[in-house]
């Protein structure tokens, strides 16, 4: 449901409560009629009041949206519990369980169990998955190789990571592949050292003949194996037609069945279970596919990009290749120029996910420290644990953004340091100089809101 809409379950329950209070009122009236000793006016009035109260509570529920409804429903629940208690007093515990028909008790049982199940599902970790953008990533300006490989990493793992949960990006690679040495979930090969393997594999006999021979067309993907110049023009690399490691990686992505690693295929390792990455459902664009190749070629040598043979894309080249009308909601590596307003900048960088930042709407994160840097930064610089180079608030904030591990803040509530390493170390690649200055200026002025 959208935030501005009613919650369908709470709406149903609030109606059910009012219907039940009406039923209780009628039930009590019936008993009053049968028993002359009962004060009909008193009890009729009490249960009529319950009904009217519930009716107005329900009416009020219809003026609320779902979040507010959830906060309000306990009040109605309390009213119903009071009604049940009063009902018990009315019957003075005399055969109380036979004073209402089984349908009422059954429905209560039904609702309680069902709502508990809904509660259970809300207690579990919540993760909403949005569809990937149509088309592919857009390059608005020329990138460095570091930025380009980071783009590849985001395609593989996604931009957002939740602690303790497997992070999966548009490429969905971690569903089956692992990337660290010794790690293997048994579905698809571990990709540690894949750059090196890509160079040697193309020379192996098995590659040349199995499951299709070089020069043959693999039917499912339509790719001719071992012929980099025969690949669809949009995905084709430039240069000579000699087979190189990059071609093997590209072929593995665009034609997984062109070569199947032993033990990971179907039908005697003649068919790969992997989908063609350039086709639906994943549909990586040429720029994205090359970014993944660049990341695969460089991931085992952090900061070193000499193994990358994929050329950098330029904004101009992508503009030529981009289909018309496909770029309105495209995903791109996070980068802020400083021309945005501060709220947009902070949201784009994802700071609110972890930090509570006064003056930024919705910034209520708790994974990292609250940003009251106008008051906190000077104290931290004086802290005996501080080993950074900052001498004033702005320098401290700048240092914290660019080198988060320089000083790890103490979590006073938990009595321990905030976890080191959680904050991305890559903000230097996400911010222009102008943007960094703007962000530092703003964060340096944050302080706790005045009380009262």
């Amino acid at each position: 449901m959208l935030p501005e809409q009613h919650d369908i379950l709470w709406t149903f329950i609030t109606i059910a409560f009012t219907v039940f209070s009406l039923y209780a009122f009628i039930n009590v009236l019936g008993h009053c009629r049968e028993n002359e000793n009962v004060n009909t006016k008193l009890w009729g009035g009490v249960f009529a009041a319950f009904f009217i109260t519930n009716f107005f509570l329900t009416k009020h529920m219809f003026t609320l949206v779902q979040r507010d409804q959830m906060m309000f429903i306990p009040w109605q629940l309390a009213t119903i519990l009071t009604l049940l208690f009063t009902w018990g007093v009315f019957f003075k515990s005399t055969e109380i369980e036979s004073q209402s028909p089984p349908i009422t008790r059954a429905m209560f049982f039904w609702m309680t169990v069902s709502v508990c199940l809904a509660g259970y599902t809300n207690w579990l970790p919540q993760q909403r998955s949005d569809p990937p953008p149509k088309g592919g990533a857009a390059i608005s300006e020329d990138l460095t190789m570091e930025e380009y490989t980071e783009m590849g990493r985001i395609i593989v793992f996604g931009a957002k990571q939740v602690a303790g949960q497997k992070s999966i990006g548009k490429g969905q690679c971690p569903l089956c592949h692992t990337f660290d040495p010794g790690d293997n979930i048994g579905r698809c090969p571990n990709l540690f050292g894949v750059q090196e393997r890509s160079e040697t594999r193309i020379k192996e006999d098995r590659y040349k003949t199995s499951p299709v021979a070089i020069g043959e067309k693999e039917p499912a993907s339509g790719i001719i194996k071992g012929k980099p110049m025969e690949i669809d023009e949009a995905y084709r690399r430039g240069g000579s037609d000699e087979l190189i490691g990059e071609d093997y990686l590209r072929e593995s992505l665009m034609c997984p069945t062109c070569y199947v690693v032993e033990g990971y295929g179907k039908d005697g390792d003649t068919k790969s279970p992997m989908p063609v990455i350039s086709k639906p459902p994943i549909s990586l664009s040429p720029v994205e596919l090359n970014a993944v190749i660049a990341w695969l070629q460089s991931k085992d040598t952090p900061g070193e990009f000499s193994n990358v043979t994929v050329p950098l894309p330029s904004a101009a080249s992508q503009a030529e290749a981009a289909p018309a009308g496909g770029g309105e909601e495209e995903e791109r590596p996070v980068f802020v120029t400083g021309d945005e307003d501060i709220q947009t900048m902070i949201n784009t960088l994802g700071c609110p996910l972890c930090h509570t930042i006064p003056g930024v709407e919705g910034a209520m994160g708790t994974l990292g420290p609250v940003l009251h840097e106008k008051t906190n930064a000077p104290n931290r610089i004086k802290d005996s644990r501080y080993e950074g180079k900052a001498t004033n608030t702005k320098e401290y904030v700048r240092e914290s953004i660019l080198s988060p591990s320089a000083y790890v803040v103490m979590n006073e509530e938990a009595g321990e340091l905030f976890p080191d390493g959680l904050m991305p170390q890559t903000f230097s690649t996400m911010l222009s100089v102008k943007a960094l200055d703007k962000l530092v200026d703003f964060i340096s002025q944050t302080e706790a809101p005045a009380e009262g």
């Binding site: 449901m1 379950l9 039904w110 809904a118 579990l124 949005d130 994974l367 938990a414």
Partner: protein, 660 residues
């Protein structure tokens, strides 16, 4: 006991034999299906080959391009594993835009469609299941007519009463179907247009089959009394129920084809263009497993509804006769539900196997990706089912004379269930704050984390099923004094089977930790085999031992405890919620596709819901359908109330207590 003392012992073996026969039938059916698929694939391949040759010949003559364009199927393959080629006979799937979706302000279109669809499916499931029960119950009634006319009439009356309810539910289902159709047309016009274009002939056949279903249903129900007097006509009548089930099954399979096409399409090319063979479109890869899974699911859900109906009437009963009757109906419904439940996981395995075969990525999204938590919830629901079933049996045993010999074991069985359930629902990894992660030393707990893997879970669920089977065997023999000369040997065999099965399951569970994941999967087969051995061999030996047994006394129908009755409610809630959950999982795994990889969902609702959001809709669907079911039962009871006023005819079944 109703229908004299021999009736239960006669009925249970018969049902057990049917269960056994059914279990034999399912693999045969499965293998038949595979054989048919293989045959169909061969036929397709030949057809394709012929078409290719023809196309080549025509191309050589320069005529092919004028007549049709050849394209590749997204799913079907030819002999050599190459995509099957076909003649393009339709337009490409549309690229849907904003104008292809309509909305209301009060709720997202997707939710409205989900609720409409689920409500229709719930009722459809019920009205398809009831004729299956009626067919079986009426058949049992006919078979027992000579030996036990009172019991036979009781069976017949039960089948007739169920049909009466089903008749009202049938109209309700049709109305909900109309609501669903209009929701589709009005809120998703662009997508519905594409589906209607592809499935045009299927939709018309569906409508005609619906007409046939209605006709046979009315003849079957309104002809009940007239066809009861003559034995031959009674056989004709029960044959009508078989026909009714046949048509109902065809109806369901036709409707399934739309859903399975959306999940795993076939018969079209990458652009979504129809390739001229409607059978390919219908018979996509998930069609058979979804069909079998739904038939079994319908039986379970139907059993749950009838059980809850009987449980409610049991609580509401005004005299001993009514209590005895509805207590007995609870038992029959419970038996039917469990009868459908036991093979259901195997159909589920088959379905998942086909999902993995279609796209491994889709399977992993289900079992290890964003849908994985929903399977944890499924585990909890299955745990609830086992607790409900065992609670019912434990409470049911207490009303059987002689059961005190076995009641002392109940607490150990409950303890085993609790332990296994805890293991069964232990997640592999859980989302934590960094501080929590740090304290625990990783996303997996160093000790409890070991229970989160498949080895532990397979072990847990198999032990839970085995415990339930043991509970059922004890229930069966509660009032029996075994007199066969080989009683000791028989008991030893039963004990050996259960102890052996438990030991084997546990050993394989532990052994699994020492094997790589791809080999570990294979251990589930011998574990399940052990469980099934306890079910079939244990039940067979147990029933064989009842020969010439003496009775400590009959089951005192009508004395079921309230806890046992509420256990039936619990089962019904769990079935309903679980059915909605699994349906959601199956449908939501398409993620942002209307038709996987062909028609993208470009609506604002194309996201995958959080678990909590989905859970609330599932709960709403469960509550809403039961409100409707109560209304349908109430409407169905209006004619019954009138009948009570009339004088009871001669030969009406005598309640058990009065017979004794």
């Amino acid at each position: 006991m109703l229908g004299k003392k021999a009736s239960l012992s006669r009925t249970l073996p018969l049902l057990a034999v049917m269960l056994f026969a059914f279990s034999l039938f399912v693999p045969n059916f499965v293998s038949d299906s595979f054989a048919k698929e293989a045959f169909a694939e061969r036929a397709f391949a030949e057809e394709a080959f012929a078409k290719e040759v023809l196309a080549e010949e025509e191309a050589a003559e320069g005529a092919a391009e004028e007549e049709c364009e050849i394209s590749q199927d997204v799913f079907y393959k030819d002999w050599e594993g190459n995509p099957l080629k076909g003649c393009v006979s339709g337009n490409p799937a549309p690229e849907l835009g904003e104008t292809d979706y309509n909305t209301y302000s009060f709720a997202p279109s997707r939710m409205i469609l989900w609720i409409s669809n689920q409500q229709h499916l719930y009722f459809g499931s019920f009205v398809l299941a009831v004729p299956i029960f009626c067919m079986v119950i009426e058949f049992i009634g006919i078979r027992t007519r000579k030996e036990d006319p009172v019991m036979a009439q009781k069976y017949d009356k039960l089948a007739h009463d169920l049909m009466k309810i089903s008749l009202t539910a049938y109209s309700w289902t049709a109305i909900l179907g109309g609501v669903l159709l209009f929701t589709f047309i009005t809120l998703f016009p662009g997508f519905f247009k594409y589906m209607a274009t592809i499935f045009r002939p299927v939709m018309h056949v569906y409508a005609l089959m619906f007409l046939a279903e209605s006709g046979v249903l009315y003849v079957y129900y309104y002809g009940w009394d007239k066809m009861s007097a003559d034995p031959f006509l009674k056989w004709v009548h029960v044959s009508l129920s078989a026909l009714l089930n046949l048509i109902g099954t065809v109806l369901m399979y036709l409707a399934n084809s739309w859903a399975t096409f959306m999940q795993a399409p076939g018969g079209i090319d990458e652009q979504g263009r129809f390739l001229g063979n409607i059978w390919h479109v219908i018979h996509s890869t998930l069609w058979n497993p979804v069909g079998v899974h739904r038939i079994l699911g319908n039986i379970v859900f139907g059993g749950g509804i009838v059980g809850a109906y009987a449980a409610y009437h049991y609580l509401n009963a005004r005299n001993e006769e009514e209590k005895a009757h509805y207590d007995w109906v609870c038992y029959v419904a419970m038996f039917i539900a469990i009868f459908g439940l036991i093979p259901l996981p195997f159909a589920g395995y088959w379905l998942m196997k086909e999902v993995y075969a279609f796209r491994q990525q889709m399977g992993i999204t289900l079992m290890g990706g964003i849908m994985a938590w929903l399977f944890i919830i499924q585990a909890v629901m299955i745990g609830l089912l086992f607790f409900g079933a065992n609670s019912y049996l434990h409470n049911g045993m207490s009303r059987v004379k002689g059961s005190e010999r076995y009641m002392k074991y109940c607490k150990y069985m409950v303890l085993t269930l609790i332990l296994m359930f805890t293991m069964w629902m232990t997640p592999h990894t859980i989302v934590m704050t960094p501080a929590e992660l740090k304290v625990m030393g990783g996303a997996q707990h160093p000790i409890v984390g070991h229970f989160g893997v498949m080895s532990a879970k397979n072990t847990a669920v198999n032990i839970m099923i085995t415990t339930t089977v043991l509970c059922f065997l004890l229930y069966q023999r509660s009032n029996k004094k075994i007199t066969v000369p080989w009683a000791t040997i028989g008991n030893c065999w039963i004990a050996a089977i259960f102890v052996g099965a438990a030991a084997n399951i546990a050993f394989l569970g532990v052994y699994g930790y020492f094997l790589p994941a791809n080999q570990r999967v294979g251990l589930s087969v011998p574990q399940v085999t052990s469980t099934l051995t306890t079910l079939f061999a244990g039940t067979a030996i147990n029933i064989s031992m009842f020969k010439d047994s003496e009775s400590y006394g009959d089951i005192e129908w009508g004395t079921q405890s309230k806890v046992g009755t509420y256990a039936i409610f619990m089962l019904a809630i769990s079935f309903t919620w679980l059915m909605g959950l699994m349906g959601y999982i199956r449908s939501a795994v398409r993620l942002f596709w209307h038709v996987t990889e062909v028609v993208r969902d470009n609506s604002v609702d194309a996201y995958t819901l959080t678990i909590g959001e989905a859970g609330k809709i599932l709960t709403f669907n469960t509550l809403f359908v039961w409100v409707q079911i109560v209304i349908v039962f109430w409407v169905g009871s209006l004619t019954g109330k009138k009948a009570v006023v009339e004088k009871a005819p001669e030969g009406v079944p005598v309640p058990a207590q009065q017979q004794q």
